[in-house]
Amino acid sequence: MAGLGEMMFRTLATFVAGVLLAGPALAAEYHEAPALAALVAQGKLPPVAQRLPQAPEVVQPVQSIGHYGGVLRTAVRGDSDHNAILKMVGNMGLTRWSMDYSKPIANLAESWATNEDASEYTFKLRAGLKWSDGVPFGADDVLFFVNDLLPNKQFFQSPPSQYVINGQPMRAEKIDDSTVKISFAGSYLRFPWVLATPLGQHPVLYAKHYCQQFTPMYNPDLPKLLTEAHQPDWPTLFRQKCGDIEIPARWSNPDKPVMDPWVISTPYTGGGTQVVVRRNPYFWQVDPAGNQLPYIDSVNMKVIGDIQTMLLAAIGGQFDLLVRHINTINNKPVLAQHAAEGGYSLVTLSPTDSSAMALWFNETELDPKLRPLMRNHDFREALSLAIDRDEINDIVFLGQSKPWQVGPLPGDKFYNEKLGTQYTQYDPDTANQMLDKLGLAKRDGDGMRLLPDGSKLFLSIDAMTADTAAIDVAELVKKQWAKVGVNIGINTMERSLYYERAQNNAYDIGTYAVPSGLNATSDPRALIAIQTLDSRQSLPWVKWYSTGGKAGEEPSDSMKQRMKLWDQWKQASSEQQADQLFSQICALAADAFEVVGTVQGVTTFGIRSNKLMNVPTSMPNGWDYPNPAPTLPQQYYFAN
C-alpha cells in the first residue's frame, strides 16, 4: 500500500517537476523572421526555440514591438573606417553599457559576483548561448582567450593594459560550461566598466572551435596552413581570419562565428564598394513578445570616400541611419533644411567630450627660451584670459556651446568648478598686466611682445588639416592674442605628421578635443599625462609614466602626485576610495592648469529615416560608448 502511494507520489512529483522545469521552454512561444522560418521548414535550420538560449535576454524596445523585414542603409568612410562597423553591429562583450551610459549591465554574462577586494570576478554566462554557426558558446571560449592567447608572447608582445593589474595578466578558471572565474593580481573595481567598452571585448571575441585551427597549441598541421596562406607567422594568420577588436580584418571573413546580431555577408575589403551584414539566426535576444531579434534583415553599409559625398547622400535621403562623420555642428543647417525632402529626422547626439577644442601647452617644450614660459602657470592663465570664448562659440560652434576649460561636465559626479570654469572670462586688460609682470613688457614696432633677451616672442599652434574646427579656433585665438601682443603662427599639417611631431615633442601648442566629460575616469588624458598619443601636455611625461621612470622626462611634482594617485585609483578596493582619489586628481589638475579649454563639448546631430523606429531621439556620442550599438540596433525596425 505504502509502496504504491510512494510510487504515485514520486510519479506525480516527477511529472510536476518536469512541467515546472520545462515550463519556461514550453510556455514561452518564440517567433522568428519569415526567411528563417522558411529555412526551418526546409530542415536547414533547427527550430527557433532550440536556437535561442534557455533564457534569452528580453530587450525592452525603445518605442514599440516591431516586425521583421527591411534593409538598413548606412555608410562607412573609405579609409580605415572598420570602427563604423563595430559601432553598428559589433558590441558584444561580457557586459554592455546601459542605454544612458550610466553603468555597465549584463550582456553575454547574465550576472557577475566579485570577492571582497574585487580581485576575482565570477561571471555566469547565459546558458545555451550559441555562436552564429550553431556551436555552443561557453566558458571554453573565454578561457581560450584568457589562458591561451593573452599570455602568449607571440600573440601579444605585451598584453593589453586593460587586462593587467600589478604587472600580471588576468587568469581564468572554468567552473562549469557557463561559469567562469577571472582573477587578477590585485583589486580591479572597474573591470565591468572596461568590459563594456570596445577594447574590453577580447574575452568573447574568439570562437574556440573555429579559431583554434590557427593556433599552434591546437593545430599540429599549422605550418602547412601558413604556407598555403602565404602568412609569415600564426598570429598574422590568426588575426587575418579571426580579427582583433579594431582591425579591418575583423569584418573580412564571413566564415568566422560571431555573437553579433548580424553576420558578415559581403566583407569589408580594400576594393569593395559596400559591406553587407545579414541576420544571425542564432542571435540570443528577444523582444517581450518572444520575437527573436534582430527585426531588420540586413544592414547595407556603402563605402564612400569623401565625407561631403556622404553628406549629400544623407540629405538626399539615401541612408536610414547615419550618426558618424556627418555629425559636425556646421552641418546642422544643411541637414535640418533638407529633412522634410529627404524623409528623415535628426538624432541628437549628446556630447561626451569635456571640451570641444583645447590648447595643450607643451610642458616639456624643447626651445629653451620658451620653456620657462610654457611651464609658468601665470603665462597660461594670462593667455586663457585673453581668449574671447564667446566669439569662438559663435563662429565655430554656431553659438551652441558654453565657455569651458576642461574636466568633468556639470552633472557628472566628479564635477570640479575650478577645473571647469577658472579663467574662462574674457579679460584682456588683466591679461596684459600679467604678461607685463612676466617680463614680457617690451614690445616691437608692431606691438608684439619681446622675450626678456630681446628676441621676438613667437609660439606655434599645430593643427590637423582635416580638423576645420581646430583651424578656425586657432585663427581666432591668433587674432585675440595679437591684441595682447602675443604673436603666434598656425601650422596645419596632415594627420600622420601631426602625430609624428607630437611623438618627437616638436610642438609648442597642440589642438585637440578633450574627451571624458561624462564618465570622467574612462580617459583622463587631460588631467593625467598617461595617453601615449594624445596627452599633449607632455608626451615625454607619458613615456616616463609608462616605462616606470626609465625613459622620458620626469614630470612636475603635481603631475607625479597625480600619477601616483591614479595608480592607487586603479587598485582601489572600494568605490568610495576610488572616488575620493579621483576627486583629488581633479583638484590637483585644477591647481596646475595645464590644458586651456575653449568651450564645452557640443551637441551634434545625426540622421535617421522617418520609417526607422525604436531609435532613441537622443544618444550619447563617443567611443567608449560606441553609439549606436549600445542603443541596441537589433530592436530597430521599419514601419510600413
Binding site: N331, P333, V334, E391, G399, T465, D472, E475, K479, E494
Partner: protein
C-alpha cells in the same frame, strides 16, 4: 620678313620685328582685351592691400555667411538725389532650430567712399597705410560686395589677396618649366644620339612618377618651421620640376622634325655655330607652340595649386590663395547656402581665359607666315 617699304626716295621706313609683332597684335581685339584683363589682374595683385575694401582676415561672428550686397549709386536724401554709393546693412538672425544663418534688413545704409581710410595695413609688409580704393565711410562698418565666408570675412578682399599668391605661382613655375623644357628639349632634339637617349630616359623617368604621390611625399618632407611663403615657393618649384618634361618632349619632337629643314642646313653650311642655329634659327619656329603651351601652363599651375590644397598639401589656411579659398568652399554647406564662396573659381576662370586670349594674340602676331 622685315617690312622695308619701297616708297619713293623720300623716306625709307623700316620697322623692327618687334614693332611688326605689336602692330599685328593690336589688330587682334580679343587679345587686346585679354591683355588688358591680365594687366589689371596683376595690378590688383600687386596693390592688393590698397584695392581690397578691408583686411582679408577680419572675422566677425555676427556676420558669418553674409550674402553679397549690391551697390546703389543714387542716394535719395531730403534735399534730392546725390551720387553717393551705399549698400543696405543686414543683421544676422540665426534660425534657432536649423541654426541656419539668415539675414534680415537692418534699415540702415552703409555709405561707401572712394579713397577712404579703412583698415590699417602694411603695403608689401613695408609701408604702413590705411587708404583703400573703396571702403565704408565709417571704418567700423563692414561691406561685403561679394559676400562673407564662414568666419564673416569679406570674400572680395580675400579674392584680391588670393590673386597675389595664385598669379605669382603661375609666373614662377612656368618660367622655370619653360627654361628647363627648352634647354633640355632643344639639346635632345638637336644633338640626337647619346645625349638624346640620356635626356629621354631622364624625362621618361620623371614622367612615370605619378604626380600626386610625389607632391604628397615632397610636401610632407618640407621642414615645418619654414614660413608659409618659403613653403609655397618650394611647392611651386616642385610642380614645375615635374611640368617641364612635357614641354621638353614636344620641343624635342619639333626639333627632330626641324633638323632636316632646309633653312637649318643652310645655316649650318653658312658656318653658324650650334648655339646660334638653335637660338636664332630653330627656336623662332617653335615660338608659336611655346607661346600656346606657356599661356596654357600658367592656369595649369594655378589649378595644380588648387588640387594640392584640396589634398591638404598645398597652401593651407591661414595662407590665402584661390586654391585655398576654393578648398574652404568645397563642402555641401557652402554650395547649398553660400554659393558666393565659389567665386574664386570665377576669378580663376577669368584669369585663365584672359591669359589664353593674350597667348592667342601673341601667337598669331609672332607667326611669320600669318596674314
Amino acid at each position: 620678313m622685315s617690312g622695308v617699304m619701297l616708297a619713293g626716295p623720300a623716306a625709307l621706313q623700316s620697322a623692327s620685328e618687334a614693332r611688326l609683332m605689336w602692330l599685328r597684335f593690336c589688330r587682334h581685339r580679343l587679345a587686346m582685351f585679354g591683355m588688358v584683363v591680365v594687366l589689371l589682374m596683376y595690378l590688383i595683385a600687386i596693390f592688393a592691400e590698397f584695392v581690397a575694401p578691408c583686411a582679408p582676415d577680419k572675422s566677425n561672428a555676427r556676420l558669418v555667411f553674409h550674402p553679397p550686397q549690391a551697390i546703389h549709386l543714387l542716394d535719395r536724401a531730403d534735399d534730392g538725389w546725390h551720387l553717393r554709393p551705399y549698400v543696405y546693412a543686414v543683421r544676422l538672425a540665426r534660425d534657432p532650430v536649423t541654426l541656419a544663418p539668415t539675414y534680415v534688413a537692418d534699415n540702415r545704409k552703409v555709405y561707401l567712399r572712394l579713397f577712404a581710410h579703412g583698415d590699417a595695413y602694411r603695403m608689401w609688409t613695408l609701408f604702413p597705410a590705411s587708404l583703400h580704393l573703396l571702403a565704408p565711410e565709417n571704418p567700423r562698418d563692414s561691406v561685403f560686395l561679394l559676400g562673407g565666408d564662414r568666419q564673416g570675412r569679406d570674400m572680395l578682399s580675400r579674392i584680391i589677396y588670393g590673386a597675389r599668391a595664385s598669379l605669382s605661382i603661375g609666373l614662377l613655375g612656368v618660367a622655370n618649366s619653360l627654361l628647363l623644357g627648352i634647354v633640355f628639349g632643344g639639346l635632345s632634339g638637336f644633338l640626337g644620339g647619346r645625349v638624346d637617349w640620356l635626356i629621354q630616359r631622364v624625362i621618361e623617368f620623371i614622367i612615370s612618377l605619378p604626380t600626386i604621390p610625389i607632391w604628397l611625399a615632397l610636401a610632407a618632407a618640407l621642414p615645418k618651421n619654414w614660413s608659409p611663403f618659403a613653403t609655397y615657393f618650394t611647392i611651386t618649384l616642385i610642380i614645375s620640376l615635374i611640368g617641364w618634361t612635357e614641354l621638353a618632349r614636344v620641343v624635342r619632337g619639333r626639333f627632330l622634325a626641324l633638323r632636316s629643314e632646309s633653312f637649318v642646313t643652310a645655316a649650318w653650311l653658312d658656318g653658324c655655330g650650334r648655339g646660334r642655329i638653335i637660338f636664332r634659327h630653330m627656336l623662332p619656329s617653335l615660338t608659336s607652340h611655346i607661346i600656346a603651351s606657356v599661356t596654357l601652363a600658367i592656369p595649369v599651375m594655378i589649378l595644380a595649386e588648387t588640387a594640392l590644397s584640396f589634398l591638404g598639401v598645398g597652401l593651407r589656411p591661414p595662407a590665402i590663395s584661390w586654391g585655398a579659398l576654393l578648398q574652404e568652399a568645397q563642402n555641401v554647406q557652402s554650395i547649398a547656402s553660400a554659393p558666393w564662396l565659389l567665386l574664386p573659381g570665377a576669378a580663376v576662370a577669368i584669369t585663365v581665359m584672359a591669359l589664353n586670349f593674350l597667348g592667342d594674340g601673341l601667337r598669331d602676331a609672332a607667326d611669320p607666315h600669318g596674314q
